[in-house]
């Protein structure tokens, strides 16, 4: 059978050319860098334990080579050589109420996959995700109901999240202010730019004060005032025992908006720590990659990995006073 497995695709063959880099070097501002707003931490809201997502995809690597009859026949009927891509590989962490966690990494590092699994939109290959409530997920596609106006989308979105009609009426002015898209609110949502759509969806989701909010590459657009309003709202959600995850390959957004950051590289966790330090380490590495200093970047990656203290999650159920680990004796 020509069904050979190769381990994780080397990222070098994929290339980073299509990606927007953080070319700007982190500036050592004397006035003190802008950091995420700190909020007192509460109990755990999300537990990710030994999570892996592996895809098996067809590889066309050997297209040009001469193939035997059997191999060609196998390919014709769809039996391709497959490789396993480890989109997310053995990741564990615990998020607490009040945290704003940024996930940084290059394209293809598994950031979005991690978020989709946490939202319950994708099934992990192994491992599990527990959460205190169903997370609200803001993905990249902009329109909710493209034919309907922004206003109708707001109303239906708020009702979908379980607000009562009276609460919806009260929440609408607030949503409009936070979205900051002016009179475009009366136009069909399909006419919105992706930035406008993302802001409106964030405003809708934030209005219901979700416990867990997952944001994939949104909010990076908009003027300074809109950004400040979004950040204040995220801090408010966190103060009400919420947790926010923000995926971005623009590490500066993470640096400025988050309190903690996770750096993923080819599905593996490189670093998990305070947002400012982690995002800076990532940006320094990305800058070296962009400049072609692969040797130096490798070194930085190794340094970061050495600093990582791997998290081992130990679930324990206080309501039954029973340890769920195989190392423990049930009482």
């Amino acid at each position: 059978m020509s069904d050979l497995h190769t381990d994780a695709l080397s990222t070098d063959s994929i290339g980073f050319d299509d990606e927007e880099h953080d070319i700007t070097l982190p500036s050592d501002a004397d006035a003190g860098p802008k950091k995420g707003i700190e909020v007192p931490l509460g109990p755990p809201t999300v537990m990710v334990q030994r999570l892996s997502v592996h895809y098996r995809v067809a590889s066309k690597e050997r297209e040009g080579e001469h193939l035997g009859l059997l191999q060609r026949a196998a390919r014709k009927i769809g039996w391709n050589r497959t490789v396993t891509v480890r989109a997310v590989d053995n990741i564990s962490f615990v998020a607490r109420a009040g945290e704003s966690i940024g996930v940084v990494g290059h394209n293809g590092s598994g950031k979005s996959t991690l978020l989709r699994v946490m939202a319950g939109l994708e099934t992990p290959t192994s491992g599990r995700v527990l959460a205190s409530s169903t997370p609200s997920f803001l993905g990249v596609n902009a329109a909710l109901m493209p034919e309907l106006s922004g206003m109708e989308n707001v109303r239906i979105g708020l009702l979908a999240m379980g607000l009562k009609p009276k609460e919806v009426k009260e929440a609408i002015p607030d949503v409009l202010e936070l979205a900051g898209i002016g009179s475009s609110i009366h136009l069909p949502m399909k006419t919105y730019s992706s930035g406008m759509g993302a802001r409106l969806r964030f405003a809708i989701s934030a209005a219901a004060r979700p416990e867990i909010l997952l944001i994939d590459e949104a909010l990076a657009t908009g003027d300074a005032a809109t950004k400040a309003r979004s950040e204040a709202r995220m801090a408010e959600i966190r103060q009400h025992a919420g947790t926010i995850f923000l995926v971005s390959h623009a590490a500066q957004v993470v640096e400025e908006m988050c309190t903690r950051a996770i750096w993923l590289h080819q599905g593996e966790m490189v670093l998990d720590g305070p947002a400012y330090e982690t995002a800076r380490a990532y940006r320094w590495w990305a800058w070296n990659i962009a400049k072609g200093e692969t040797q130096k970047a490798e070194g930085l990656l190794e340094d970061a990995r050495a600093k990582l203290r791997a998290t081992v999650v130990h679930p324990q159920d206080s309501s039954t006073v029973r340890h769920l680990s195989r190392h423990s004796n049930a009482t």
């Binding site: 803001l138 009702l159 379980g162």
Partner: protein, 298 residues
């Protein structure tokens, strides 16, 4: 970190490993479906969402056509005209049927309601995907909103149908039996909701079924006596019994008896339709609820 966990886990001794003891009593796996009771409770809580969603989409539905909502009535009228020419005039199935035009109008208009559910249910989860991914709510809201929307947009269609059977000769007489027609309509709404719930889950799991459903709906139409009288063509008693078990056939037969012929329909027809109208939505709902975790996945 509790002392207990430290002593119980050998990993705690390793220096560069951070042991996080998590109290998971408040946590549950993401995307896991709620128990049936709390699911129904959540669904009831979202009733305003269901009505708002169905209303908003009803208005958005025919925006791209010039005549807009006229097509709700226009399409079955054109269908009826086609069947009248082919079956009534060319093939002569009209022979022996009193008021063939009324017979055909009721058949086409009311069957189109059920076949719209079959086809609508097939695309409903794909159409609601953006909402499903963005917000967490019981997913049954989406098919139920469709059922509600179709029932509401059926009102003008039914009124047009009643006006036509009275106006077009030979005129149907309005009798006290017409008062029972809303009951048939309600039973049909229940049946359709069940159909939508079934097709919604089936086609979201296996999109290929959408193609099969178009075929199934045509097959069903010919088996329901929309444009000809079944008992005139089917003589085999067992086959006839099977065809009479068909809920769409019951709907048409009862409606024609009530509206056109002024006779009380057979009790057997009422009971068959009543059973379908209860069993289909209940089983459909349970079936849909079991797949709750699948709908947002890609």
């Amino acid at each position: 970190m509790s002392e207990r966990a430290r002593t119980h886990s050998p990993l705690a001794q390793v220096d560069d490993v951070q042991l996080e003891v998590v109290d998971i009593s408040r946590l549950k796996p993401v995307g896991q479906r709620a128990a049936l009771g709390s699911y129904i409770h959540q669904l009831w809580h979202r009733r305003h969402f269901i009505t708002a969603d169905s209303r908003a989409r009803a208005f958005a539905g025919n925006r791209d056509t010039l005549l807009g909502r006229f097509w709700l009535v226009g399409k079955p009228v054109l269908d009826g005209l086609t069947y009248f020419l082919i079956f009534g005039v060319l093939l002569g199935t009209a022979r022996g049927i009193d008021n063939y035009i009324g017979f055909l109008l009721i058949g086409v208009f009311l069957f189109s309601f059920t076949s719209a559910s079959l086809n609508g249910g097939a695309g409903v989860m794909a159409g609601g995907k953006n909402l499903i991914r963005a917000f967490s709510f019981p997913r049954a809201s989406i098919p139920l909103a469709l059922a509600l929307r179709q029932a509401i947009s059926m009102f003008p269609v039914v009124i047009a149908m009643l006006v036509m059977i009275v106006v077009i000769p030979p005129h149907a007489k309005i009798t006290w039996l017409w008062a029972l027609f809303p009951v048939v309509f309600l039973l049909q709404v229940c049946l359709n909701s069940g159909i939508i719930l079934y097709t919604a889950r089936l086609t979201s799991a296996l999109p290929d079924l959408r193609l099969v459903i178009g075929f199934a709906s045509r097959f069903w139409m010919y088996g329901s006596g929309v444009m000809y009288s079944i008992d005139k063509f089917v003589t085999h008693p067992q086959l006839l019994a099977v065809l009479e078990f068909n809920p769409a056939f019951c709907v048409l037969e009862i409606s024609r008896d009530l509206l056109l012929y002024g006779t009380m329909p057979d009790l057997k027809l009422w009971l068959t339709l009543g059973a379908w109208a209860i069993v289909t939505p209940v089983l459909g709902f349970l079936y849909f609820w079991q797949g709750e975790e699948e709908y947002g996945r890609e």
